[in-house]
Amino acid sequence: MNYSIAFRTIVTKEIYRFIRIWPQTLLPPAITTALYFLIFGKLIGGRIGTIHGASYMDYIVPGVILMSVISHAYSNVVSSFYSTKFQRNIEELLVAPVPNWVILGGYVSGGIFRGLLVGLVVALISLLFADIVVNNAVIAIAIAFLTATVFSLAGFINAVLAESFDDISIIPNFVLTPLSYLGGVFYSVEMLPGVWQTISLANPILYMINAFRYGFIGVTDVNIQFAFLITGGFIIILAGLSLFILHKGVGIKN
């Protein structure tokens, strides 16, 4: 059987969903990040000087972009799939001959699309504040795509396991935001005292942000190949886990 039509239907529905509510999905990140750039970059950054030879403004731009990609890829999938489950219209997919990998692929693609679109919006806004010559666009785009995939998958798992609306905001608030901030968006890990440097290296987001920053301005705290390896590893693990819980029908079937 040909599943491309089912896949396309899910993806189109997902994209249409967040475009339709763009004042809630695309506008807020534009405003928030403009404020980041203004306050941290322009006002405070001017007094900080340079990190690894880059102005503070240029240094934070990639991190802020990727942080937006992460949170929007995640929240798109978690809220969309949870409400699909909550309103029970997941049953429309379960009765139809749509294999689990197509369902997963469809929702994750929606998350990737939203994440990258928000990333693009933020990148365009950054042009108002910074004047960046991109170092390696292929690396930047590849790591942004893979990062969006990781967090779309994570959002999917969160949605499947969530039993209430509260459960879909726990991970973003208590895990994602702290890990993003501690992942070196606003500083280089070399600026931390010794033990904190080691602890920071256990944070996967640190690798993604640094690889992305390398793609932008050619500056990184970590090895780029290793960053790709970690990100790819996460994708494999999370995709496997997602398919497993879908197969078991956890939270979806009785």
């Binding site: 599943y3 039509i5 089912a6 049953e91 429309e92 379960l94 009765v95 139809a96 009785n254």
Partner: protein
Amino acid sequence: MNALSLRNLRKTYNNGFEALKGIDLEVEAGDFFALLGPNGAGKSTAIGIICSLVNATGGSVSIFGHDLKTDRAKAKSCIGLVPQEVNFNQFETVKNIVLNQAGYYGTPTKLARQRTELCLKQMDLWDKRDMVSRRLSGGMKRRVMIARALVHAPKLLILDEPTAGVDIEIRRSMWKMMREINRQGTTIILTTHYLEEAESLCRNIAIINHGLIVENTDMASLLSRLNIDHFILYLAQPVAVMPRIEGYQIERVDDKILNVSVPKETGLNNLFSQLTAHNIKVLSLKNRSNRLEQLFMDLIESKPAGDKQ
């Protein structure tokens, strides 16, 4: 060819409740089949398993010869489901709900649009196609679910209480529509609590109670088993004492109303001539209860839980 066959289907929910205790059922292709039973009997559970919404604990399901476990995609493609409760996205438009469902079944875009238009027109919803579904009335929401179930032209249509809470006019038009769909060759399985609905629409019937099939037969032979009809007679003048009439059991409800039990083979002629002889004028009469309802109650009461037929 069987449209559906269930073998020893079992379901125990996570809380330990045994909703289906091993049911076997065959529905022939082209049939209009009633699946009846009281609240909590296990009808929706069985339908849920057939439609891949509930994981079975044991047993097998085969749809038009395709086993649901080994030949999943083909089996699923044959079924259209109208669930008991509204389960579409309330923020989506009517048209998109139906169109997306066609997409999930792999219908190419152009054909999907044509089928969507056809099904929405058939359900009298084409005018509402751009309305957000949350704004529809209850009856319209049911019809959206029927249109959605029909969009991929399934060979087997399963309707779980489609006429619950629907007004009489719409119910009649749904009956007409279901008959028409069945006439065109689609097998229909219908659950309902309106027994007159099952009686007038369905050719074969299964009654399920406490997770077991307690009756599975054709409608005609089920009804023929009822050998006593019950009537209510409305009289023109009050009668103080009711005369005895041989062959009929008559009970005075009040001055002008009588309950009469009539054995099938006896008929009504003799009753009326006797009443006329006693100078009792009958203004009108009606059936006391739906005949099927009577049988249904008998079947359910005579076969308690765990008593496998």
